[in-house]
């Protein structure tokens, strides 16, 4: 049997993207790694990490990593929670009759995503200014909630809209009233959408600094702003080390999210009543 000399593989279509990834993702990531582990003399050193985790004698370590990190966690958690509480009922209503067929309405909630991000933030800020609100923690939270609302809404809406109606019917058929049906069937089955919404909002907030920069004050300095200012003042090693730590945290949270999703979909709890 003669072998065919050349086999055309559809994988060649992925090569352009591979090239882009290599140049703009892999290489920068490696650069971060290099800068993070390089001392001021240019040799390998853990100096940057020592600064982050132990301080430099003048500033406490808390100021470098822990405090911004906790602030970031706090503001991300609060905004995400508020966003979830607002988005879920909206998604629920939009996915139910008689809105189900009117995808246009669902689209209306997404349209703001098509407007420039900074433009939206400044517009919201001027509105809040007019209402007499001052820059600060809550203004930043409002900014986050406003900005990330579609990212929270869409995954939940998609899961709810595609959910087989017969699950709800089966629950009601078996004697569960509407409240119980929601708690025992609809909510658990929409968990993948909720987790996906949370990760789509929580992650970006972690590294964002534009909203807190525009709408917050110096008490709302998040880790993203720290990194920004480090690079701004040419402290490449410091910035890279912070980025590296942030990356590890984000990767862990993503893994956790995936793990929970898989668990909720596949493995139900034990067989005892």
């Amino acid at each position: 049997m003669k072998r065919k000399a050349k086999v055309f593989r559809p994988t060649v279509f992925a090569f352009p993207y591979l090239a882009v990834t290599l140049v703009f993702v892999i290489v920068p990531l490696l650069l971060i790694l290099v800068y993070a582990f390089r001392g001021q003399d240019g040799n390998f050193s853990l100096e940057n990490f020592r600064l982050i985790f132990c301080g430099d004698g003048v500033n406490d370590a808390k100021d470098f990593l822990v405090r911004p990190l906790l602030k970031t966690l706090g503001i991300a958690a609060v905004s995400t929670a508020i966003c979830l509480l607002i988005a879920y009922p909206v998604a629920y209503v939009l996915s139910s009759q008689p809105f189900r067929k009117m995808t246009v309405i669902a689209l209306l909630f997404v349209v703001p995503m098509w407007i420039n991000f900074m433009l939206r933030i400044f517009a919201l800020k001027s509105i809040l200014d007019t209402l007499g609100m001052e820059n600060g923690y809550w203004m930043a939270v409002i900014g986050m909630v406003y900005d990330f609302f579609p990212y929270m809404l869409l995954p939940i809406y998609t899961v709810l809209a595609n959910m087989d109606k017969s699950y709800v019917e089966a629950s009601r058929d078996l004697g569960a009233n509407p409240v119980r049906t929601f708690c025992k069937v609809t909510l658990p089955l929409s968990l993948p959408g909720i987790i996906s919404g949370i990760s789509m909002m929580f992650m970006p907030i972690f590294s964002s600094y534009a909203i807190t920069g525009t709408m917050g004050d110096n008490h709302t300095s998040v880790i993203g702003s720290e990194i920004y200012s480090a690079f701004h003042y040419y402290e490449y090693g410091h910035g890279a080390a912070l980025s590296f730590v942030l990356l590890i945290i984000v990767l862990f949270v993503v893994w956790l999210g995936n793990f929970l999703t898989r668990r909720s979909q596949k493995a139900p709890k034990g067989g005892k009543a």
Partner: protein, 512 residues
């Protein structure tokens, strides 16, 4: 004290009953009398977005029976089941379970449980928890409690679940993830989940549709056995006529939102009430004929003896002849019809042949094979000819577009919109019964006709007229018309529907 007037009332009623003569049997039974119908459906109509899915449907279902709702897709059988389950509310009418109206009761308070078409097992719960779902919510009467009821204990729940799983043959599957089960196993879990709640009526919505043939046959027998063991009423929806005939005590054949026939499986097959039922249940030859007189039926140019009577003289009827009832023999001149075999297919235990005789293609089944092209005789014995009243829903004619907004048929030229058709096109003309108007003087109508009969249909008369071109018109009208009167016929063109006429395809239809 409160009881007294009620007692008096009841006494009075029995008196009234006693006074009645035997002739009053047709009167509706007194409401207090307990009927053995567990479900009573009365005048249910359901309209979805302007489409009538169920049309003034009434049906009684006896306690403990296995009842099948059978019909083609879109006939309203699933809608009827969902109305009983409570997932839909009727546009009008009422459903009673054990005498109590239920249409305003939400599904979670109804004493029925459903096995869904795609099982609808909760994917986030394992088998045990799926089956436990309804039991955990169940309240059982307990006079020792303040509320008068209590919930089941964990042990009671576990016992019931194990019994239910055993019944469906899934003893050790409690801990299993429902997604890891095969279709047949999921089906069993769905049944266990429904029957464990001990419903008064079990509703099954095409539950075997997703299973392969072998498994389906097994499940049919198992369901039948379960029904016997449990003794509760089953209402089973299917479009598979064989399934319906195998499993049911009573089959309800439905089409277009209307019940066509309610009967035992054998009667449905042997004595179909109309052409639809005959066509839907099993293979059959359906022909048009004329009832010449009692026990005499004319079709395909022959006059044959049959066993039916009680039709009008020369009434047009539908005739059903089952393929296995036709006796086929070699050579011409042996039976009623001479023909030629067109095709012959072996079906495992018999041969199925298409035989062309008197311009009609008979389907014939026989143990003996006659090859394609062979000359044969067909004999049709009297008791294999089933005669049914014709049901007409619309007048249908073949016409010709004779100009803009003018169509000629039945010997007259009628005005109606002809958008999309050209002059000279042959068309099928559909004239609804209420689109026709009769006039006292022939000259006021487009064509003249003779009144054949007027039938009172409760709120209106259905009048039949006979045109000079040998066509019949059926008219729904408020007035009674005297037979043999000469009248004029007018048509409201706006209500008429036109369709392209294809002589090859529509030949048999138009001939009716």
């Amino acid at each position: 004290m409160d009881l007294l007037p009620a007692q008096l009332l009841r006494k009075e009623e029995t008196k009234v009953k006693e006074n009645k003569t035997i002739g009053a049997v047709t009167e509706a039974p007194a409401p207090q009398r307990k009927s053995d119908n567990i479900i009573e459906i009365k005048g249910i109509t359901k309209v979805f977005d302007g489409v009538t899915v169920l049309d003034d449907l009434s049906l009684g279902i006896k306690r403990g029976q296995f009842v099948t709702l059978l019909g083609p897709s879109g006939c309203g059988k699933t809608t009827l089941l969902r109305l009983i389950a409570g997932f839909e509310t009727p546009t009008s009418g009422e459903i009673y379970i054990e005498g109590a109206p239920i249409t305003s009761i939400p599904p979670y308070k109804r004493p029925v449980n459903t096995v869904f078409q795609k099982y609808a097992l909760f994917p986030h719960l394992n088998v045990f928890k799926n089956v436990a779902f309804g039991l955990k919510l169940k309240k059982i009467p307990d006079p020792t409690r303040k509320k008068g009821y209590r919930k089941l204990t964990k042990k009671e729940i576990a016992d019931k679940i194990n019994r239910a799983l055993k019944l469906v043959g899934l003893d050790d599957y409690g801990h299993r993830d429902v997604n890891s089960l095969s279709g047949g196993q999921q089906q069993r879990v769905a049944i266990a989940r429904a029957i464990v709640c001990e419903p008064k009526v079990l509703l099954l919505d095409e539950p075997l549709g997703a299973l392969d043939l072998k498994l389906r046959k097994e499940m049919q027998l198992e369901l039948k056995k379960m029904h016997e063991d449990l003794g509760i009423t089953f209402i089973f929806v299917t479009h598979d006529q064989e399934e319906a005939l195998t499993m049911s005590d009573v089959v309800v054949v439905m089409n277009e939102g209307i019940i066509q026939q309610v009967a035992r499986p054998k009667s449905i097959y042997d004595e179909p009430k109309n052409a639809f039922v005959a066509d839907f249940i099993g293979e059959s030859n359906i022909l048009s004929g004329v009832m010449e007189k009692d026990f005499k039926i004319a079709f395909l140019g022959k006059s044959l003896t049959c066993v039916d009577k009680g039709f009008e003289k020369n009434e047009k009827v539908d005739i059903v002849i089952r393929p296995e009832d036709i006796r086929i023999s070699a050579g011409h001149g042996q039976g009623h019809f001479d023909g030629e075999v067109l095709t012959s297919v072996f079906k495992g235990t018999y041969y199925e042949m298409d035989v062309l005789a008197s311009d009609y293609e008979f389907t014939v089944q026989s143990q003996t094979e006659y090859r394609s092209g062979e000359k044969v005789s067909l004999e049709i014995v009297p008791d294999s000819i089933h005669i049914m009243k014709k049901i007409l829903t619309i007048n249908k004619y073949i016409g010709k577009v004779t100009g803009e907004n003018a169509v000629s048929f039945c010997g007259g030229e009628f005005e109606m919109p002809t958008d999309g058709f050209e002059t000279g096109d042959e068309v099928l003309v559909y004239v609804p019964f209420d689109a026709v108007e009769l006039t006292d003087y022939e000259s006021d109508g487009v064509i003249g006709a003779n009144v054949t009969q007027s039938l009172y249909k409760g709120t209106y008369y259905q009048v039949q007229v006979y045109t000079d071109t040998d066509e019949d018109f059926y008219i729904d009208t408020a007035d009674e018309w005297d037979p043999d009167d000469r009248v004029g016929v007018k048509i409201d063109g706006a209500k008429v529907r036109l369709e392209k006429y294809d002589p090859d395809k529509d030949e048999t239809e138009a001939a009716e």
